[in-house]
């Protein structure tokens, strides 16, 4: 049996992730696993969206695979992927030293802020789909956006009380940066020579082809409608977490339909409206469902 090695984030993608886990775990976060559904961003994970609601403190960190079908480039673009990883940290309420913690986390994965230019550039975040918005920045490292840093102000149409700080690291970008690699497929995955390309290149090729060319659009339209119907069914039966999952499903199916180019500009707005309606209804239902319990613990608090 081999002893646990030192983390080597400068030469290993997985060690970079593990170093972040070590850091955030040491700073009071639950280390969660990815949500087992296809989604476009880590923010969709219930550990972010649903947990941003309500008064209870919540500190968690996790990796979330993200799928953006239209970003697929058949493995030919060194920077763009239809499947990639985000590292999410949510701290509720945000601690006063959240920027300092973030800076320290960059140190842990090998970024020296006196050698590299770290900047907080205004970038507010809004997700009409989730009825959510927040203020914050995109964090630049030598001009590259490596993290989205947001103070959630509203979620599901409700004021965040208290406000949560959300950090979303773009893992591949950071790793390319740290490892000094120009092509994502050249990233050293394990520090022993297995590359990101070994793991994902074929996947990108096939999935790009499926997203853009193969996926059966009739089936996708059918899936969309079924997810929508099931979401309504869940809402009617007061299981808002299940309803929320169906909203995520509908959102992803919509993205696939977009990639297949079968949704016209006019229809697009209407589909987005339907997804938004599902997501917001689920968040609202969840908040209403939980509100009595929250109020019991925090008598001063109201939705």
């Amino acid at each position: 049996m081999t002893a646990v090695a030192q983390r080597d984030p400068k030469n290993s993608f997985q060690d970079m992730i593990l170093a972040l886990h070590d850091f955030w775990s040491a700073n009071g976060c639950l280390i969660l696993q990815p949500y087992d559904m296809r989604m476009g961003a880590g923010t969709f994970h219930t550990a972010t969206t649903l947990r941003a609601l309500g008064p209870e403190p919540w500190n968690a960190a996790f990796v979330q695979p993200c799928r953006r079908p239209t970003d697929g480039r058949y493995g030919e673009n060194p920077n763009r992927l239809q499947h990639y990883y985000q590292y999410q940290v949510i701290l509720k309420p945000n601690p006063d030293n959240i920027q300092q913690l973030y800076r320290d986390s960059l140190g842990v994965i090998g970024i020296d802020p006196l050698k590299h230019d770290i900047r907080f550039v205004e970038d507010d975040w809004e997700s009409p789909t989730l009825g959510a918005w927040g203020l914050g920045w995109e964090v630049w490292c030598d001009g590259m956006e490596v993290t989205q840093f947001t103070y959630f102000q509203q979620m599901g149409g409700f004021d965040c009380k208290p406000v949560a700080g959300e950090l979303t690291y773009g893992l591949e970008r950071l790793a390319m940066y740290i490892q000094g690699v120009d092509n994502v497929y050249d990233l050293n995955f394990d520090g022993r020579g297995v590359t990101y390309g070994d793991v994902f290149l074929e996947n990108e090729k096939q999935m790009s082809k499926w997203n853009f060319e193969v996926a059966d659009t009739d089936a996708l339209f059918d899936l969309f409608n079924k997810a929508e119907a099931e979401c309504r069914n869940c809402l009617a039966n007061n299981v808002p977490i299940a309803a929320y999952e169906q909203a995520i499903e509908a959102s992803h199916v919509f993205n696939l339909l977009q990639a297949r180019g079968v949704i016209s500009v006019q229809e697009r707005a209407s589909y987005m409206g339907r997804v938004r309606d599902l997501a917001r209804s689920s968040c609202e239902k969840y908040a209403e469902h939980m509100a009595p319990r929250w109020q019991e613990k925090f008598p001063e608090w109201s939705l």
Binding site: P78, R103, D142, P162, W301
Partner: protein, 785 residues
Amino acid sequence: MSDFLLELRSEEIPARMQAGARADLERLFRAEMAAAGVSPGAVSVWSTPRRLALIACDLPLATEAVSEEAKGPPEGAPDQAIDGFCRKNGVTRDQLELRDVKGRNTYFAVIEKPGRAVADVLAEAIPAIVRAFPWPKSMRWGEASLSTESLRWVRPLSGVVALLDSDVVECEVGGVASGRLTRGHRFHSNGDIAIAGVADYAATLREAHVIVDQEERQNLIREQAAKVAADAGLTLVADEGLVIENAGLTEWPQPLLGRFDEEFLDVPPEVIQLSARTNQKYFVCEDSAGKLANAFVCTANIASSDGGAAIVDGNRKVLAARLSDARFFWELDQKTSLADHAKKLERITFHEKLGTVADKVERVAKLARWLVEEGIVTPSPSSREGGDRGQPGAPSPEAPAFAGTREELADLAEQAARLCKADLVTEMVGEFPELQGLMGGYYACAEGLPDAVADAIRDHYKPVGQGDDVPTAPVTVAVSLADKLDSLAGFFFEAMPPSGSKDPYALRRSAFGTLSIITKKGLRLNLRSLFLRTALPFAVRKVHAPSPFKLHRSKVMLDQILIDQNLAQKNGGDVQDLKNRIAATRDSLLDFFADRLKVQQREAGVRHDLIDAVFALGGEDDLVRLLARVHALQYFMDTEDGTNLLAGYKRAANILRKEGWEDTAERIARTGDEDPMENVDDPQMRAIYAQRGANGGLSYTPEAAEKALIDALDAAEPQAATAIEAEDFAAAMAALASLRAPIDRFFEEVTVNADEEIKRTTRLGLLARFRAAVHNVADFSRIEG
């Protein structure tokens, strides 16, 4: 006297908000001081990404003591009244003074307000300023945000430094207590640093790698960026917006030059510059020949331990990724012809009431062709003010003369119009919407379309504002006019004109552009016909019917518009209603253009009363003729003849008004369908005026001066009429000028208000004739002076 320092430290303030925040901080501070009766000396405000600071000099240590008096009831008034007066003024009865007021002893309350320590005033002012701060967007944060009542700031507020000279002004806002501790540069400085006194602030921060004065940072960036470019043998492309933005993003700015792969220079320079500027906030450089160089200047926020090598290398990679994306779009877009791109426009809604962009393109193509076929846009490349300068690096910088026939020009105009919106569906314009037009021009060139077509696609949005180039190449002019007119007519037809400050479809800009092109090119056209023609397709849309209307020679009349009654009814349309809407569109566009023209001419320095004097004639819808008249009038009114004629005119008009003289030949009210010109200068009408005025042969012997005026009018009227006919407005004014001496003499020697009714009427008629003659040139009643 003392100096005051306030520093509000927060997490990174957006660069674009800092200038406004500085102004707000000073305004709020001054208001608080004024309310407390404190007048500060010099006030400086500074900002960095992490702090807003204010230093006010020469504050007094205390406000002045004030003694206020209030007059109360007279002695002997009921106790109730006296007690009430005491309560109101916060004094006791034995503190009241009795004074004699007009022989009555009256109670006075004297309230001594002692001076307050300015430190106390400031301690109250600081939280008030913070709470009242009008950030464009603000947020809550931290544990306190459990309640929505918690303090709001642009980003979390982390510290308040408040010093009066070297003493802390104690206060607290949103859980943050004031003190003398602040932080230096986020990475170059560690932990708290103490500010000893107001005078030490800037220097202490500088030691902690913070240049607190934004202007100093801006100067540093401007100079250093130019220097690193010069050191590399290049010239920085100056960009003041980027200077300010980078100064708002840094506390210790360090401009650094980097290079990108020369291969990317294949991509159009505008794309590279935009990508570098918008996404990365980099400056770009030019080589000695003025061509875009493969270099960028980024502004770091640290003096890096390796001299910036790692930073430059990182930024180079980011830019390379951006540019390779741009090149990917550039190459991908060219795999599809513009004609094929244009097919996708069917899927883009232009406006729900006006159909898709493809529908618009169809209308614009037909209109562009019509403008050429009707001779409004001609193959002549001539322009009044020299040629188009074109865009640097654009496919064809010089607007070429058009050598072909009218039919060939019409074909090219239609072709360009059909392709002019195709780039909206390209990847590049999707990424950089501000490159619309330009990219279409590049792609047209790349696929070998005629230069005139490529230029028209590139420039058809022009002019987009004051000072922008006005197109003059014939194909471009046809497409540009057609595109703008179509939008104007469409939104007016659907009753969506701009109102007040709301102009969501930029119709004022479209009208301005249309006017600029017409006047610059000297295009002769009849606006009423043009607007009818342009509004027509929107009526046709309503009934989904092809319109069998006939058009000839730039003159479209409403009664020539034939819409198939049966088809219309089948589709729920009412032909008369549609015709009314077309007419209404035309009329409101005429009014709209008149307004825009007035604004345009005013801005060009033409007196507004002269513009009004010509507009008041009404009916004129040839802009070129109208402006010629305005300009001749402007010239004439600067001469002595003009001034004197105006004086004579005003005297005549006053007498006529006083005598209640009424013109029977009032201008005919606009019905919407008369020939616009028929009333302005109609020889028959002139005869009527003449008869009306002079009343045929005179029944008495006129005085010499009277006779002289009649003779002068007899001579001047036909001269002016002929000159107007020939559009020689200077000559028309000269003819009027010949009336100046006779009218002056007439007023000197002739009694208008004669005892004999016949003389009185005749002489008033003569004055009316004089007034009418002047009115044929301009409505002098509108002219001031």
